[in-house]
Each structure stands twice: as C-alpha cells, then as structure tokens.
Amino acid sequence: MRFVDEYRDADKARALSARIASLCEPGRAYKFMEVCGGHTHTIYKHGLEDYLPETITLVHGPGCPVCVIPMGRVDDAIHIAERPDVIMTSFGDMMRVPGGRGSFFDSTAQGADIRMVYSPLDALKIARREPDRQVVFMAIGFETTAPSTAMTVLRAAAEGVRNFSVFCNHVTIIPAIKAILDSPDLRLDGFIGPGHVSTIIGCRPYEFIARGYGKPLVVAGFEPLDILQSVYMLLLQLAEGRSEVENQYARVVPWAGNIRALRAVNEVMELRPYFEWRGLGFISHSALRMREKYAAYDAERLFDIPGNRVADPKACQCGEVLKGVLKPWECKVFGTACTPETPIGTCMVSSEGACAAYYNFGRFSRQRVREATR
C-alpha cells in the first residue's frame, strides 16, 4: 500500500460515479464547496468532473493560502527582502505572486536575495550557515503549516540562533468559512472539508457548520477517489436528511486533531484581532501573529515595513471566485488579460488557485473532446 495509487483507480471511480448519479434527485442541482485549494487542484488534475453528473457543481473555496495573501503583505515582504543584509526564504508557491510592486521573482531579478525552501527548517539551516545575514522566513499557510513554523521558531530559540525570523502570514480557515456562510449571495448544499488542516485541528471545529447552518461537511483526503467518495457521502447525508461532520479521511485525520501541534502554535503565536484576506477583505480573528515573547523572531517587529493596503486591480474578481460566487471563467479578464504568465489575481498564480487550476487543466470543452474521442 502506498496510500496514493489505491485512490486513483478508475474502476472504483466508475462504481462511485454510478452511486453518485443514483443518489441525485432528478431535477435537483447540487452545489458543494471544496474549501481547500488542494482539492481544487486534484479535481482538475485528475479530470474528476468527468465522473460527476452535470447537476453537481463543485464550487471552489478560499482555501489556498497563497491566493488569500493581500498585495500589501507581498509588498511588505519584498521591502524586507530588498535589504542587503536580508536573505528572504519562501516556499516556491509564493515566488510568482504579484504584490503592488511585482513578485518575489521580479525582486530577485533586481538583486534581492530570495531563496526557495522546502521547509522552514531549511530556512533555519541557512541562518546557521550564514550568521552575518538576517534570514527571514515568509510564513504562509493555514493551520496545516503553522505548526511547522512554530516548531522551527522553538528550535531557533532553543539553539539561540539570533539571525532568523518569521514574517508571519498564517491564516485560519474557520473564520473564512463562516464569512462565506454568512455572505448572502451563495447557496451551498454542503462542504468538502479540508483534510490536511484537519490533521491539526481535527473535525470538531466544523460542527457549527453542520449544527448552526445545517450544512453537511465531509473532511476529505486529496486523492481523486477521496473526493468522489466525499461527494457520495454528502449526497447520502442529504438523501437521508442528515447534516453532520463526517471524516472520509480517517486514515490520516484523527477526530481530535494534533494536540502537540496546536500547543506549539499556541506557544509561539496568537490570533490577530483582524487580518485582510485578498478578495474577502478584513476578517476578525482569522490570522496568527508572533507572540511578544518571541518578538526576537518576528520580522514584523524587527524590520520597518510600509504596511500599506494595496487595492486589488479593478478588473480582479478573485474575491468572488474565492467565495465561490463566480466560476473562474466567469471573471471578465480570465484567460485574456489574466493568465498564469501575467496573473492579475492570485488565484491565477498558485496551482491551488481556482483560476490557475481551471486554466491549466480544465480549459477545454468536455463536450468537444467527448465528440472527438468517441
């Protein structure tokens, strides 16, 4: 067992597909939101829509940590990165994300020292190796990633490394889901819950959705069969009149989450009163910042940052896409002015972004292809 290929089996997919079709009430349209950009990526990458009846629409949610970083924060990070004493470190995903003054890649082309890392621990390693430079880690990600940042800060503190700091942009998913549930313009039938966030926070935090809003939520894995099964489980709940939090991804997600990880995050970080989400605006208690106690590791405290809000480009409809109100192709600039090589919005940059996933993987007429390959 590799816990990968087993969940990419076309035969099982056909069987599930038939079940899904049989669970759909004739004439009823279903809208499920996959909260997580990882799911969006899987859906397009494997062509999962080919297994869904036309009456089921998968709506892409706000769960791409790259897509929700506002332009001003990118500018702030670049401002830090441009200091000659600084080595900025970042996940590859952030490199092309445009702020108001260009992306990290644009910045390196102009001389900033920005390096891709696979892990925050790699950034710490660079700090150890280059003691004369200030190494800043551009921390992004949801609850999945925050514990790794926290653990790295704790290790830096334990080792007394003094030239390492974190520019903290970690966000939390629950307030964003709540914002979407409260927004008037979207009717959803259920949620495909974020599997990897749930490895940390567990399944309980979603119960308000099932209880308070009456929407079923299935925490789902990231292989295509995981998602297909989750759709099946959502339809089953609807058919049976239930609205519960279920865990399709029990092989990985413990119901209670990872206490050790939550403790590490809580030690190092605290909730911000509010944080701006790209496209969604300010959301209360939706992000993390470094605690006073770890001020020495907080790039936001160590470096002057301009902290300017940058308005999204006029044409940008990322907010509507992130809320699931618009499909990517419904944005007026999609695929013409906004493409992966010239992204206007962040959803076109990250491969988890709904626009990028649709553009890169889904930009064709299924109907014509079906005809051509008949």
């Binding site: 076309a10 999962l48 080919d50 297994y51 995903d93 644009d106 295509p224 090589e341 051509a372």
Partner: protein
Amino acid sequence: MTETTREQQVLERIDRARQRKARVREERITMAHGAGGKATQTLIEAVFLDAFRNPLLEPLEDGAVFGAGGARLAFTTDSYVVSPLFFPGGDIGDLAVNGTVNDLSVCGARPLYLSAGFVLEEGFPVEDLRRISASMARAAAAAEVSIVTGDTKVVQRGKADGCYVTTAGVGLLERDARLGVAHARPGDAVLVSGPVGEHGVTIMLARGELDIEADVTSDTAPLNGLVAALQAAVGEEVRCLRDATRGGVATILNEIARAAGVAVVVEEDAVPVRPPVRGACELLGIDPLYVACEGRMVAVVDGDAAESALAALRGHPLGAGAAIVGRVRDDPPGLVLLKTAFGGTRIIDVLVGDPLPRIC
C-alpha cells in the same frame, strides 16, 4: 444562454488571445525566460525571431536545415549552464555534446562535427575543466562526432558559475525525410523513447538544497543511434522528432499541437516514469511531464506504423523503455489533452517558467 455556451465562448476568447503575437511584458529577464516554457517561447518569438526573421529560423525547430554546396545540412546550437556541473550520470560536458548531437539527430541528420565555446569563471579548477573535456571527448567518441573548433573566454570571479559551455553542431541529411512539428496529422501516434524526467530530478536533487536522496541518474545520452534505428524501420512514416529537454515532454507535445493545429491526446498510464522520479515529483508537488530529460525523444509517426516504430525503438538499448503514449486528433486544435489514470480528462499546457516546488 446556457452556462455551457457561455463557457464555450470564454474558451474561444481565450484561444484567440493565445493566438495573438507574443509580447514580452517584463522589463527585465527573469529565470522563467530560460525555463523552456511560455516565457521562453515568448522571448524567442518577440525578441529573437522578430529581429532575425528568416525562413530557416522561422519554424523554430531544434536545428536549421539548409542546402550548401549541394549538400543538405542541419545546424544547431545550445548553451549549457547546469549547476552542479557534475551530477549522477553525467556532467556539463557530456550534456553539451549529447544535447547538440540530439538536436541534429531529431532534425533527421547524421551529426558530424561539433564546436565548443567555453566561458570560464576566474578561479575555476583546471582539474574540473580537464574532467569536463574528457567527458566531452568520450561523449563525442560515443556519438561518432568530432569537436573540430572552439573558443575559450574567462570572466571575472562572480560573473559566471564555474563553467558554461556552448556547443554548435553540423550534421548531414542523408535521406529526404522532411521532419517538423508542423507535420503531425490526426491519426498519428505519439511515442516517447523512455522514462521521463530523470535528468531534471537528478539535477534538482544534486543541488542538495532539498535534502532528498534517490537512486536517480541523468538520462543524458546521444540519440543519433536511436534515430537511425527508427528511420531504418519506419523512415517514411516519421512526421517529427524532438528531444525532450527543458520543459519536458509536455512542452514538446504543446509545440506539436500548436504548430500542426491538432490535438494531442496522451494516456497518463502509458507515460513511463520510474518510481523515484515519481516519488521526488510527489514530494515537491511537480509533474514529471514538465521535468527535463537529456536523452529522451518524442516521435510522431503515422498511426499505422506505431507498433513497428515502438519495436524499432525498443530494439535499441536507449529505447528499451519506449512507449506509445498518445494519439494525434483533429479537435480541439492546439491543445494537449491527458486521459488521466483516474479516467478523467485534462489539459497539459505549457508552463510559464520552471516547475516550482510546491507546498500548498
């Protein structure tokens, strides 16, 4: 208007946008311009092709084919800036020889003579230069070509990365086959000559920054023998050949679809990928189809000759892992589609820049 119709209109609008003349929007060169993807294509078309335009350059094939003094010749060049210079399975030297041998081979030419231009960084160990030269000499002998002219420049420390090599090559076209990506037509079969992505993964891991270990070695190899074997078997049926380098197999398939105005439909299951390449790509969140090879080629052959072509490739040591990976269709023109192992369909597009390691 139904949603499907609206979507359809958007797709057509996009298609038109993509047909437009390439324009470099950036003011400065970025790494993406060298990654072999969209940015590279745009740079080449909007800057170089625009300036140098002539009928031989225009097809932007792997090499130019022309007549001179009664002979039909192929001519190509490539610059090599790989880091690290030495890696499992090869080094910049055999890479530089094989790369140019391959570009000539996929033009249908027998590679004859190579040139080598070196840009050396002050302080570069002479011993490393000897190793590189020895490896070039071995590669040249293996490919039965001679390095007949060259040049050496030295730049100040900090103005290069040890050693850059530019090879150019001249080859002779002995048969009349006119190969070209524009020649693919519906019904043709698409083959790859072996497992993909091994060179690129080897280089990524050899840099050491990712702390990942795997038993992968570069696939760098001269393809002239393999091409000869294929031509001997199904010479008339070969539409085009391309060696997969930067941008990987995906980029080549897109060049074919775009140049010939056809659809290329690839079966994900059929694309050979060795487990460690798959594992590294999973860890890094990248797609092996975009990862560089240096000794693999894509061949488009008449559909009826597919099996003979496959047999010919497999009969050669460098083609033992060859596979028929897809077919050419007429619609939708210009697109490369993947039938996923999961049974779905998606596009394989050209990347903007390098495939970036991805964590989310």
